[in-house]
């Protein structure tokens, strides 16, 4: 946890919340840029994974996936992968990271909002990893001839905001869950690639056999990717994605409640002196 020493008290709860978000995000950015290899390797995985899957689809003789060009389908899928990985290793891992660093108790003693810390980790990760990686993969997709069909910029904007917002909500829900599981690293490793499959990131959900196809119905990043694919690749308008936006809003609300409850449980466990890590 980091606070700006000697800073004046925030003028309102919102200002205090934003100050903690900003301070945490900035600390996360500084921590990440400290090692050059961290910055170099960041965009490499998503870009090369995109390319690997694109070559596999082409080797299979498939140029259209789920009604859109494979280049575009995988581009949005890669954005989903980036956000999911950020969920796992940044916002979702935020409280666990504090525990590993030995700063969790200090964090719980400060008046700073836990949610602000979680969102700060997430935003810091977006700045140093998600955004540059999405740009590099986007350029790669452009080089391979991705066709964007945007007819309603407002719908595209809302789809993007809905996707990002629900991602932060998911990270918030995971933050408490990871620590309470006492197997954060194991869970994060375990959940990573199965969700690429189950979430419709690299193959369409419709191709999955039942009951595997049900997971995407309650996974917010899947709904967000659907909205983004429709508005970015198929020229859909607000009317077409309204049900998806509503779904994102409901799922995000549920996740925020779950996240709040999870972090309260972490706080109680810490106050009882429970051992929160077994690794």
């Amino acid at each position: 946890m980091r606070l700006i020493a000697g800073a004046a008290p925030p003028s309102s709860p919102l200002a205090g919340f934003l100050a903690v978000v900003w301070a945490t995000a900035w600390a996360e950015i500084q921590r990440r840029v400290a090692y050059a290899i961290h910055m170099i390797r960041g965009p490499v995985f998503p870009a090369l994974y995109y390319l690997t899957l694109l070559i596999a689809y082409r080797a299979a003789g498939r140029s259209v996936v789920a009604g859109v060009d494979v280049e575009g389908y995988l581009l949005v899928g890669t954005i989903g992968i980036l956000l999911w990985s950020s969920n796992l290793w940044a916002s979702g891992y935020a409280i666990e990271h504090e525990r590993q660093e030995g700063t969790l108790l200090a964090l719980l003693l400060t008046p700073a909002g836990r949610s602000a810390v979680v969102f700060g980790y997430g935003l810091g990760d977006w700045a140093v990893w998600v955004l540059p990686s999405a740009l590099v993969t986007g350029l790669l997709a452009w080089g391979f001839g991705v066709e964007l069909v945007v007819r309603d910029p407002l719908a595209l904007l809302l789809a993007a905001v809905g996707l990002l917002g629900s991602t932060l909500a998911l990270g918030y829900a995971l933050a408490g869950f990871f620590v309470l599981s006492r197997r954060a690293n194991l869970l994060a490793n375990f959940l990573q690639s199965p969700i690429y499959l189950l979430g419709g990131m690299v193959v369409p959900v419709s191709a999955l056999p039942a009951p595997l196809d049900r997971f995407a119905a309650v996974f917010p990043i899947s709904a967000g990717m659907d909205a983004l694919r429709l508005t970015l690749l198929a020229g859909a308008g607000l009317g077409a994605i309204a049900p998806l936006l509503l779904k994102l809003a409901v799922l995000s609300a549920v996740l925020l409640v779950a996240g709040f409850a999870g972090l309260r449980l972490v706080e109680r466990a810490a106050k009882r002196g429970d051992e929160l890590g077994l690794e």
Binding site: L48, T52, I55, R183, F190
Partner: protein
């Protein structure tokens, strides 16, 4: 008397190798059993296989058996990158690296012993993928035992050598995990894991041909699926044999160079 000295020295090194292997194996088994990591490493490639299966299901189903064998072989590659490649840096983080370097045996002895402790995960991953290939995608194996007996050790020598080289480089960059994560997508793209190297576009195919991985995948796939003889495998087996010779030497050379460099800089235990 000289031969007795040599025998004694080799025996000493083998004893160090065995002791390192046993210690690390116990630690790994305890870790993977207690933490459940074996499940993660065994299940993960099944999802990778399913992704490939769904991509090829409505197009080139004939590529699926190849992908199954390549993913089986990838189990060794994965451990070479993420276990062998990070083993020195891991010891440094624990604070035990300087003591290891002062141990009265050769460094390669304990390093090979540590590396061999990853075999458990390799076997678990390989068995799971093979089983998933048979059960989920009805893949039929038709192996040539002799070809496999020749190709598999060559492949393991190649990827093991690369792992040792990476392990040394990991010490240099001080973030071995980031290095593994940097190298692994390159290997995924060029190594012929999700498709044969022949399916790569021209410039990438040329790059892939400079790596031993693709030759290994092709050789193992042909030997395991099509009963290919050694003569039939010659075009890919010869480059693989060459890399099995070069990669361990390269690994040892890189390790020795980094060893000298790091000690001269006084960075052995600096993280």
């Amino acid at each position: 008397m000289e031969s007795t000295g040599w025998t004694s020295a080799i025996g000493h090194e083998l004893a160090a190798l065995r002791a390192s292997w046993l210690v690390m194996l116990r630690e790994r088994l305890d870790f993977i059993a207690r933490g459940g990591y074996l499940l993660v490493w065994a299940i993960r490639p099944v999802f990778d296989l399913t992704i490939a299966g769904l991509i090829y299901a409505s197009g080139r189903r004939d590529l699926l058996p190849y992908v199954v064998v390549a993913l089986i072989a990838n189990s060794a590659l994965w451990i070479s990158l993420f276990w062998v490649g990070e083993v020195l840096d891991r010891e440094r983080m624990r604070g035990t690296l300087p003591a290891l370097f002062l141990a009265p045996c050769s460094r390669l002895g304990w390093l090979i012993g540590f590396a061999a402790a990853g075999v458990t995960e390799v076997v678990a991953g390989a068995l799971t993928v093979g089983l998933a290939g048979v059960l989920l995608f009805d893949v039929q194996f038709d192996p040539n035992p002799l070809s496999l007996a020749v190709a598999l050790p060559l492949y393991l020598c190649s990827v093991g050598g690369l792992g040792v080289a990476l392990s040394g480089l990991g010490l240099l960059v001080k973030k071995a995990n980031h290095l593994s994560n940097l190298v692994s997508p390159v290997i995924m793209l060029l190594g012929g894991i999700y498709y044969p190297v022949a399916a790569l576009p021209e410039p990438l195919r040329l790059l892939a041909r400079a790596l031993p991985i693709g030759y290994g995948m092709e050789t193992l796939a042909a030997a395991a699926l099509h009963r290919a003889t050694l003569a039939e495998l010659a075009p890919s087996l010869l480059p693989l044999a060459l890399s099995a010779l070069v990669c361990p030497l390269l690994g040892a050379a890189v390790f020795a160079w980094i060893d000298r460099l790091i000690r001269r800089r006084g960075e052995l235990d600096l993280y």
